[in-house]
Symmetry: C2
Subunit: 109 residues, 2 copies
Amino acid sequence: MTTTPARSLGRMAGLFRALADETRLGILVRLRDGEQCVCDLADALDAGQSRLSFHLKTLKDAGLLRDRRQGRWVYYALDREAVAEALDALEALGGSARGFRLAAARRGD
Amino acid sequence: MTTTPARSLGRMAGLFRALADETRLGILVRLRDGEQCVCDLADALDAGQSRLSFHLKTLKDAGLLRDRRQGRWVYYALDREAVAEALDALEALGGSARGFRLAAARRGD
DNA sequence: AGCATACATCAAGACTTTTTGATATGTCAA
DNA sequence: TTGACATATCAAAAAGTCTTGATGTATGCT
């Protein structure tokens, strides 16, 4: 365990770049509770087909999503390990961030 | 406490966008252990003056940094609460991500 | 085989971010 | 008050990202 927050800042920057878009965050939220096929995502989020495909690819390339074809459908799922990697980087930065925040919540602000 | 991960995905996307750059992550790492003046950051990171200034502003606008002038120098410091906000969003997404990751570490992968 | 469905990829343009060098501002010291 | 230093801001070009519509590919149905 090192005191340096990230193996490679470049890799972390890539992860955060993938997270830096509202549509993509929306996708991740939808996938919180399990995999979904593209068609379901297309219904839920209000995104055209190629736009959605683009964002799914962006997330997948960043390692945040896995996909699996089943017949005509492609199912995407969160890769929780990648999320955890980003979490670790932030925690290394934040130091006592969570304690800080919980304290703030306790204070009521 | 809601089950929805973020008050506003837009705000979260903004935070992540600020984190989505290697130079800026480098700045945040440098500030982990306390505030530093721009000149120290300029020495440490290998960034030209206006470039550094630009990234500091980007981080500040996102709420991740606070600044304070003292004489000729300007000191920047992490805003741990903003880091915590990003952390919360990720945790809401990741679900059992941390447990997952710790388990992976225990397994040795 | 032929067609429909589900999705990916591509190409062009719009838009945003980043970098660079030049100039502006605020502060101190002589 | 002038000059030097630390930093910010600006403007233009370069690079990157996102959206859109068109086309491509895989699969299953008939």
